[in-house]
């Protein structure tokens, strides 16, 4: 069997807060034991609210942060070894598109310079041909060559996001990490960017790690979905199974909380109480038990493990209760 494009094994990332000398030091458990695979050409969506570790995950996968422990395998090779031996080859395999297109392009560099930087660094083309290569990339993302000499502030949010995608595509990556790529954009523009990403995937076979807070959106666009809460994956499985039903109480609450047009307004939706607890001091046992509508005493003591159920993995002692009555 072939190795997956990306395999994350027991990733842990901890940040130290407060000064070493100030005495207020704490440890943020941003990622706790996160494992998943991404196959070539597929989309894995990671969904969760702020503080769930999804952006930290994006940064660990792209080696912008180094994980505290655990391994990342790319095409079967250890990512850290590859990064040390052939950093540019690593960078060529994995690229990232950020949330805020206003911040992800250098305000003092033209579009051609920004995309050209990527081509030049990786010697993707001769310098004479750079202009043509950038033009081709811009066309690939639906922009004309008129934009070559422009600065980011002359572009709309959607156009900037297209440029950011073109820059990532410049090195022909096999995996693109999309960190909330549309949540800063207007609704009418969001669909344009999602469609562009899907079209690129179809044409180039690139895989996506798609980070989002919108479960309804990712159910539409991904092959597999992972739901994260406080640094852990609480449910992960094929999108088909997740569309059929959600088995973790948090996944359910997250989906129910997303306002949806046409839903019966009188139907009582189970609402979560309180806020997400601090990742500096995650609750004992199941990390979700403080807000869980079906929590029992056992949940506070015993941390549930990810286990197979109904075609996916779920981290809940009582997930069976969520199965539709046969």
């Amino acid at each position: 069997m072939n190795a997956p494009l990306l395999r994350a094994q027991n990733l842990v990332k901890e940040f130290h807060t407060g000064g070493r000398w100030s005495g207020s030091a704490g440890v943020v458990h941003a990622l706790s034991d996160v494992s998943f695979d991404i196959e070539p050409g597929e989309t894995l969506a990671v969904v969760g609210e702020s503080g769930c570790g999804k952006s930290t995950l994006a940064r660990c996968v792209t080696a912008l942060n180094l994980q505290t422990s655990g391994t990342l395998l790319i095409d079967g090779q250890n990512a850290q070894d590859l990064l040390r031996r052939e950093p540019l080859r690593f960078r060529r395999m994995i690229q990232i598109v950020f949330q805020d297109p206003y911040a992800s392009l250098n305000p003092r560099r033209t579009i051609q310079q920004s995309i050209g930087d990527a081509l030049r660094l990786h010697r993707m083309c001769k310098s004479k041909e750079q202009r043509d290569a950038v033009t081709a990339l811009l066309e690939r993302v639906g922009l004309s060559s008129d934009y070559l000499g422009r600065y980011p502030h002359e572009l709309s949010g959607g156009q900037r996001q297209r440029v950011a995608i073109a820059r990532a595509l410049a090195v022909q990556p096999r995996l693109m990490v999309c960190d909330e790529p549309v949540s800063a954009l207007d609704v009418s523009i969001q669909a344009q960017i999602i469609n562009l990403l899907k079209e690129i995937q179809k044409a180039l076979g690139v895989a996506y790690l798609f980070i989002s807070h919108n479960l309804a959106l990712v159910r539409h666009i991904s092959d597999r979905i992972a739901v994260m809460y406080l640094g852990q994956i609480v449910e992960i499985g094929p999108a088909d199974a997740m569309r059929r039903n959600l088995l973790h109480p948090y996944s359910r609450a997250l989906f129910a909380a997303t306002p949806e047009i046409g839903r019966d307004k009188t139907a009582a939706t189970p609402m979560l109480r309180g806020d997400v607890p601090s990742p500096i001091n995650p609750p004992s046992g199941c990390r979700f038990h403080t807000r869980c509508p079906i929590a029992r005493p056992r949940c506070a003591q015993e941390a549930p493990l990810l286990r197979e159920l109904d075609g996916r993995q779920v981290r809940c002692h009582f997930a069976e209760e969520m199965l539709p009555a046969a």
Binding site: Q159, T258, E260, D275
Partner: protein, 324 residues
């Protein structure tokens, strides 16, 4: 019966380096007592500017109401002195913002900030104001209000701050609450809590709500009527059920289609091509015409009039003329 808030022909402009920009043009709508009206639109639609101009909060940013009337309980707010307006702000009209830190002063405790408003507008004693504040904090769902009252805004989470701001806005039991993107910065599970809270309080206090948002799902779940804005103009207005089930304006239709995600993965999402026009290069006629698949020659001639397509359902689109 006259409306609680009646806005007529409101135009707002900002002075910029490149000349004045009309952020809102000829906007009319009303909010009746006790109802929730949502004003929905994308960035640049003028929805927030319109909301802020109701209480003349745009003046520090260089904005100016250039035409129109804002009748609140039959009194034109534009004619009031700033002193009279201060009496209305906070006591009869409450306002909450996207970023609670805009409304909360970081150097005072939350209790001080709420009770100050109570003492100023209702003339309560220090003791009574404090008791009332604890009651309010409890009402907006803040656990252990007796302790929270002496905390500073930075001690609270985003959702808690939003609750404090709501408590502050509701302190004097206003008859209208203007909520400018109150949940945009919050996580969805917290958003659901805050929206539910606003809804309950609205019923309890019999207050009207003007909700500014870009999220059509939020509109559907909370509002009775909706005003759809595009590039500074109102394009459609009506009851939520009418507008969402029988949208007449091509822009509203497009927005609804993009927002309605199906679980079907096969096809691409429905998209509206193009982008919102630049404020300096506004189309002469219908502002949506350049992006509209159904536009025809007359669309570019002049601003389309409001056409009534059903009771309380208006649309600013020439296509609606054809329908009986």
């Amino acid at each position: 019966m006259s409306a609680l808030l009646q806005v007529e022909g409101l135009s707002v402009q900002f002075a910029t380096d490149r000349g004045p920009v009309r952020a809102v043009e000829d906007l009319s709508f009303s909010v009746a007592a006790g109802e929730t009206v949502a004003m929905v639109g994308e960035s640049g639609s003028g929805k927030s500017t319109a909301a802020l101009s109701l209480l003349r909060l745009i003046e520090p940013a260089g904005g100016q109401v250039s035409a129109g009337r804002i009748l609140f309980d039959d009194v034109d707010l534009l004619g009031l002195s700033s002193r009279q307006l201060r009496g209305v702000r906070g006591s009869r009209i409450g306002m909450i913002f996207q970023d609670p830190m805009m409304a909360l002063n970081p150097i005072f405790t939350i209790g001080w900030q709420i009770s100050e408003s109570l003492r100023e507008h209702l003339g309560l004693s220090r003791r009574a104001a404090r008791d009332r504040t604890i009651e309010l904090l409890q009402r907006v769902g803040i656990p252990a209000p007796e302790q929270r009252i002496d905390q500073y805004p930075h001690n609270l989470s985003g959702g808690m701050r939003q609750r404090v701001m709501i408590a502050m806005a509701l302190a004097c039991r206003p008859s209208l609450l203007i909520a400018d993107e109150p949940t945009t910065a919050l996580d969805v599970t917290v958003q659901a809590q805050v929206l539910a809270l606003i809804n309950t309080l609205k019923d309890e206090f019999g207050m009207a709500v003007l909700l500014i948002t870009h999220d059509l799902g939020v509109v559907w779940e909370t509002a009775q009527r909706v005003v759809v804005m595009y590039a500074g103009r109102k394009v459609e207005e009506g009851s939520v059920s009418d507008v969402f089930e029988r949208p007449e304006h091509p822009y509203t239709r497009g927005l609804l289609k993009t927002a309605r995600l199906t679980d079907d993965r096969a096809g691409p999402l429905v998209e509206i091509p193009g982008t919102v026009p630049n404020a300096f290069e506004m189309p002469h006629g219908c502002r949506f015409a350049p992006r509209c698949a159904q536009a025809f020659a007359r669309c570019e001639d002049g601003v389309p009039p409001d056409i009534k397509v059903a009771v309380g359902h208006d649309v600013a689109c020439l296509l609606a003329e054809r329908a009986p």
